[in-house]
């Protein structure tokens, strides 16, 4: 059975669109479900606070949902944007775009749920600090969206840069690998950034006067957490724009695909791990703000060591790309 390339491109863009919006919705829904669960717990012992808790939840979820909306925009563009291409290479580009947008929305969606839940809990505990807690929550979940924006940028590049003059082998793997690398590598940092933001909200609720050290430590913590997402983004850019010679075998194609998988999966673990570290460190910053410097330094050392596996993945991915 043989189809012409138009069929393949259509099929791939529909598949990519479904993956994008599906993954995006799942991530945001998991985050919202977690928030609802936490809010319900708080409501059980603070029924009077329901108005404030609902307000916090609403604000948190409306911001968290932007990850899903990014995925929706990509998905609609894939179906209705009138995209096409002269060669079957475009099919892989559109599939990669859908994967990048969808997978990266999972991490940010789940991650934004954590600060929202922690903020509900914190406001239930310390109603007077609601202004500070909401502000920290908003900053935390806004920065948590950064990996998702990386995915969006890669998806746009895959959709709108013209690759049609390139050889089919090994470019199909480069395009798919670019999508996978950014998409998968964004999951860990998204969720990890959420964990840091959640602990920051808890800390501010406990000690509203420690808002400044907590905000600084949170920004540092989320910043280092997102370094693996930046590695994934970098590998994607190299895969997209480095010129590969046309090949007559499968070897370079699978090397490029392997590079995408290596950096993509390799970014998940360090991202989550660094987020856990940052979370515990911020809990303690809120408890004893006068030791904030010591705690931030210990956090940085721990994060740097757990980042090393991410750097191994980056090295392996680079070697695979250069070998191709």
């Amino acid at each position: 059975m043989a189809f012409d390339h138009v069929t393949w491109i259509k099929a791939a863009s529909y598949l990519g669109s479904g993956l994008a919006v599906g993954f995006g919705a799942i991530g945001a829904a998991l985050g919202e479900g977690y928030t609802a669960g936490k809010a319900n717990q708080v409501l059980a012992y603070r029924p009077r606070m329901s108005g404030d808790i609902l307000k916090t939840m609403l604000v948190g979820q409306a911001v968290a949902e932007s990850a899903a909306i990014f995925a929706l925009v990509i998905s609609m563009l894939l179906v209705f944007g009138g995209l096409g291409g002269p060669t079957p290479l475009s099919a892989w580009a559109y599939l990669g775009a859908g994967l990048a947008a969808g997978l990266s929305a999972v991490g940010s969606g789940v991650g934004s749920g954590f600060p929202a839940a922690a903020a509900c809990e914190g406001i239930g505990r310390q109603p007077k600090a609601s202004g500070q807690v909401t502000l920290i929550m908003l900053i935390g979940s806004a920065i948590t969206q950064t990996p998702c924006i990386f995915g969006l940028v890669i998806a746009f590049l895959l959709m709108f840069v013209d690759f049609s003059a390139k050889p089919y082998y090994p470019y199909w793997a480069a395009l798919l690998g670019a999508g996978l690398s950014t998409g998968l590598a964004a999951i860990g940092p998204g969720a990890g950034g959420g964990l840091v933001g959640a602990s920051a909200c808890k800390s501010v609720a406990r000690h509203p006067e420690a808002q400044r050290p907590v905000t600084t430590a949170m920004l540092v913590g989320i910043g280092t957490t997102q370094s693996t997402a930046i590695y994934g983004f970098l590998i994607s850019l190299i895969l997209l724009f480095k010129s590969f010679p046309a090949s007559t075998s499968y070897v370079p194609s699978f090397a490029l695909l392997g590079a995408g998988f290596a950096m993509g999966f390799g970014g998940i673990g360090p991202g989550i791990g660094e987020g856990i570290t940052g979370g515990y460190a911020l809990d303690q910053v809120g408890r004893i703000p006068e030791k904030a410097t010591l705690l931030t330094r210990t956090m940085l050392v721990g994060q740097a060591v757990s980042e090393s596996t991410g750097i191994y993945s980056l090295v392996v991915a680079l070697l695979l790309v250069l070998n191709a």
Binding site: L234, I238, L240, F241, K242, S243
Partner: protein, 224 residues
């Protein structure tokens, strides 16, 4: 991305070896050296109580890095190594900044430059160690805490060179890649200037400082 890999080279065959010279890097490095020498000449030409602008800038650099070196090393040791540290920073700063100007390329975008600077720091640090402690004490340190740690210690010292040079190279190269991609994206001239400014100035300054700082720290570790 093709623009990044395309470099202007001179190749030469000497005694059976095929030598390739990276012409862009050589020319840009020489330009920067010329600029720095000119700067030094202007700054010290007419020193006085009412300084000329060049002298103000030079005094700022000297004062900052004198304090820095004094903190890390002893006072008399600092006198020996301060000129190196200060000029290394000024050289790197100019290297990282020069990409802002059109038709100019950062020499630090070439791994050869950064690896050369890293090796320079390595040799100077070990020379300083041998000179202050004597060769026997220096060599003995490699067999601390137990004798079979020797290969590991050697690897550790060499790894420092690689990591320090790859770090500078990676940061400057990463900045260039992102600027190129964005230029591809917008097909225009609106955003790239800001990006040039950001990557060239901010990241360049931080990385130059970090490289200098690390070289200083490596020297101070060897000396102590």
């Amino acid at each position: 991305m093709e623009e990044l890999t395309k470099v202007w080279t001179w190749s030469l065959d000497v005694a059976g070896f095929h030598l390739v010279f990276n012409a862009t890097t050589i020319v840009m490095t020489l330009t920067i050296m010329g600029l720095l020498i000119a700067f030094g000449w202007f700054a010290t030409r007419q020193t006085g109580l009412v300084p000329n602008p060049f002298q103000v800038v030079a005094e700022l650099f000297v004062e900052t890095f004198w304090n820095l070196t004094k903190d890390a090393l002893d006072e008399d040791m600092a006198k020996t190594y301060f000129p190196l540290i200060c000029s290394l920073f000024m050289f790197l700063l100019l290297c990282n900044w020069i990409g802002i100007f059109p038709y100019m390329e950062e020499p630090t975008k070439d791994l050869n430059t950064t690896l050369g600077l890293g090796l320079m720091g390595f040799f100077i640090a070990h020379y300083a160690g041998i000179k202050t402690k004597g060769f026997a004490a220096y060599a003995k340190e490699y067999f601390q805490p137990v004798f079979f740690m020797m290969p590991l210690n050697v690897i550790g010292e060499l790894a420092k060179v690689i990591s320090i040079s790859f770090r500078l190279y990676g940061n400057i190269m990463g900045g260039s890649i992102i600027i190129l991609v964005v230029s591809h994206l917008v097909y225009g001239l609106l955003i790239p200037p800001f990006l040039y400014a950001f990557f060239g100035l901010f990241v360049g300054t931080v990385q130059a400082f970090v490289f200098t700082m690390l070289t200083l720290v490596y020297i101070s570790v060897q000396v102590k």
